[in-house]
């Protein structure tokens, strides 16, 4: 059977992978399609330009806060948070 530490780290790793996949998509993948996206208009912006200038940035900010919340939940689940016993 896996120890508590191993299970905790497994969950932490899978959260890390999830976050980095989202990060990779909004850092690189979506901007490959800038020309196609520019055909769409969003708040009067060409959408491809908007994603590089604002959209991805908003995703990054929200992503970090979401990650912090999720990681706290994992820590609490195993009693590994700093306030827990």
């Amino acid at each position: 059977m896996e120890s508590k530490n191993e299970q905790h780290w497994k969950k932490t790793k899978s959260l890390m992978v999830t976050v980095l996949v989202i990060w990779f998509f909004f850092s690189f993948v979506i901007h490959f399609f800038v020309n196609a996206l520019n055909g769409v208009s969003f708040l009067n912006f060409p959408f491809g330009f908007y994603m590089a200038a604002q959209g991805s940035l908003i995703v990054f900010v929200v992503l970090i806060f979401w990650f912090a919340k999720k990681q706290n939940q994992i820590d609490e689940e195993f009693g590994f948070d700093e306030d827990g016993n």
């Binding site: 520019n38 009067n44 990054f60 970090i64 590994f80 700093e82």
Partner: protein
């Protein structure tokens, strides 16, 4: 009231204190605006802004002076996450971000957004891969972590070499920027103004170390963000009727496109991959992001939070405060371009707006007429710094706003300089002097040494800056590739791969650093050698074999990390597998930093010279 009660009172009332400070600052701006209307000359307004703001920073620096080691190195680890976020944001945003980023976006259009993306997305990596674990480890400096995780002074020294290589040119550029602003608004010769800037930096950092720098950086953030937003908000209200430039410039982009086709301009503002091809665009994003996650002066800010949980959330706040400036910069660029396309280009040269002449007189705007008296797009060129600096005049705002922008630019340069200076000086005083030369030094002696070293590094930077070294200034962008090539892999694998050995990490750091420096130095200083001996190709045949015009796979030297980072990773991986597993105590240490609970992995006795607990 005892000292510690007073301190806790201060931490609990931070919100009130900084709200009051913000109110007073806005009040001062209003008073100065009234004085200007009453006929007080511009030069007095300029003086008032510079002297008052630097005076406040000095006051904070003096009030935060400290004789405690943990206060000096990590602000006593009691900075609440939101305030650490603000301090990180002003630590991060340099004079060049404040003044130059919008101008780069004006010139590069869509391609410039690689900087906006690269300088924000890296914080995701900081939050997920590094900040909480380095906080748990409980070090004073980044080399301190490397020296412990990779058992010994070789990794520590290599960390310091990389730190110095990426931070020294950076700090020199900040001192230079503060000198430029001070000389313009105080009317001093540049060589004198540099030392004025130096004094402004030292009063913040020398007496109180990290503690003083933290509280000054929060104050500087408030000034820089107000100064950045006010002019473009007013301009947006004037042009579009809505004071939210970040939302309204979509409309402006449409008008720019219409004007561009009307005037036959080939390079469209929103067209992607014109200046940077795809490899360079995405390569630059990659290097800037990994570089962000490796810069010691940023990472060490997350050593100051009270807990691991606070360190994570603090990265979110840092990026939020950075985002406020970075998502405004493209709006600046769009409004400036619109103004120039609609009111400058295509007009008679004799009837151009006043601000063109003002900035033209000091050589930051260039107009070359071919003889028909009408200004063409190709006849107009603009220095990238003008976009932010001239916006108050473009919007027809009073001089007080120009003074506000200067105070903001100065705050940005000083806050970044403080952080960098502290990173360099702490590595030298803590890692070299205390860890390697004199582990028995008393607290008093350690702090005195730290302050003397800080002073020496600061003077060295000021003397270098006073020679106006154009090369150093253009090398700042290299810092990200250097940091990423030398530090990213050993830091991340140190936490995420228990197996990583001392030998692997050291070999990886050396390889990454050398490969990156080789590419930078050859493509910049020895293009002929690079072309003839190393088989590099020429990017733009028309320009021939000259600096910054040779390389492999069309990759520009600003993205040298594209070679250094993989090299560092491969070497670390292979050498690690060829060498025996790290000892049990290191394995335990890694397990310990992966769990938030249980206090710092290294306790006080370790920091005072003992060994790591596990």
């Amino acid at each position: 009231m005892s000292g510690s009660e007073k301190k806790e009172g201060f931490i609990n009332n931070l919100g009130k204190i900084y709200a009051l400070y913000t109110g007073v600052f806005i009040g001062v701006v209003i008073v100065l605006a009234i004085l200007e209307q009453l006929g007080v000359p511009d030069v007095v307004i300029g003086y008032a802004f510079i002297v008052l703001t630097v005076g406040v920073y000095a006051l904070i620096g003096i009030l935060s002076r400290t004789a405690q080691v943990s206060q000096y190195y990590v602000a006593g680890r009691q900075v609440p996450p939101v305030f650490n976020g603000m301090a990180t944001a002003s630590d991060w945003m340099s004079g060049a971000s404040f003044v130059g980023l919008a101008g780069s976006l004006y010139i590069l259009g869509y391609d410039g957004l690689a900087f906006v993306l690269g300088w924000t997305g890296g914080y995701v990596l900081v939050a997920v891969l590094l900040a909480p674990y380095l906080r748990k480890f409980g070090a004073y400096t980044v080399p301190d972590f490397l020296g412990t995780r990779y058992q010994g002074n070789a990794a520590r020294v290599m960390g310091i070499v990389v730190l110095f290589a990426c931070s020294f040119t950076y700090v020199t550029a900040q001192v230079y920027a503060s000198g430029i602003i001070a000389s313009r608004f105080l009317g001093l010769p540049f060589e004198v103004a540099v030392f004025f800037g130096l004094a402004g930096i030292l009063v913040c950092s020398m007496l109180g170390g990290m503690r003083a720098v933290t509280w000054t950086q929060v104050a500087q953030y408030i000034i820089l963000i107000i100064a950045y937003l006010v002019p473009v908000v007013i301009l947006s209200a004037k042009v579009t009727g809505v004071p939210i430039p970040q939302l309204m410039y979509g409309d402006i982009l449409e008008r720019i496109s219409a004007l561009e086709s009307q005037q036959g301009i080939v390079k469209s503002h929103i067209a992607p991959f014109v200046t940077y091809n795809k490899i360079n665009f995405f390569g630059l994003i990659f290097c800037l992001m990994l570089g962000t996650a490796s810069l010691p002066h940023i990472l060490m800010r997350f050593f100051t939070t009270p807990s691991v949980k606070a360190a994570r959330i603090s990265v979110g706040w840092a990026l939020f405060f950075i985002f406020l400036l970075y998502f405004t910069a493209p709006a600046y660029a769009a409004f400036a371009k619109y103004e120039i396309l609609s009111n400058v280009v295509g007009k008679e040269i004799s009837s151009l707006p006043d601000w063109v002449a003002i900035w033209g007189d000091i050589g930051l705007i260039n107009i070359t007429d071919t003889g028909d008296g009408i200004l063409q797009w190709s006849e107009f060129s603009i220095n990238r710094d003008v976009v932010v600096l001239a916006t108050p005049e473009i919007a027809g705002l009073p001089y007080v706003i120009a003074g506000l922008v200067a105070a903001g630019g100065l705050a940005a340069a000083l806050s970044t300089a403080d952080g960098l200076l502290l990173a360099i000086a702490n590595a030298l005083s803590h890692d070299i002097y205390y860890r390697m030369i004199n582990p028995n030094a008393s607290t008093k002696k350690r702090l005195a040494t730290a302050k003397v070293i800080l002073l020496c590094v600061a003077f060295l930077a000021a003397i270098t800056a006073s020679t106006r070294p154009s090369d150093i200034l253009s090398m700042v962008a290299w810092a990200f590739s250097i940091a990423a090539s030398g530090l990213f892999v050993p830091l991340v694998l140190g936490v995420w791969w228990r197996r990583t050995t001392k030998e692997g990490a050291i070999a990886g750091m050396i390889t990454g650093f050398v490969v990156c420096m080789f590419y930078l130095v050859v493509t910049r200083y020895f293009p002929q050698l690079g072309h003839d001996v190393f088989g590099m190709s020429v990017f733009n045949e028309a320009n021939g074999v000259v600096r910054d015009n040779v390389g492999y796979f069309t990759i520009r030297n600003i993205s040298a990390g594209l070679f250094g980072i993989p090299a560092s990773f491969i070497v670390t991986y292979v050498v690690t597998l060829l060498t025996p597993k790290p000892p049990q105590e290191i394995s335990n240490l890694v397990d310990n930093i992966r769990v938030a609970k249980g206090g710092d992995s290294t306790d006080e006795s370790y920091r005072e010279g003992g060994i790591a607990s596990s």
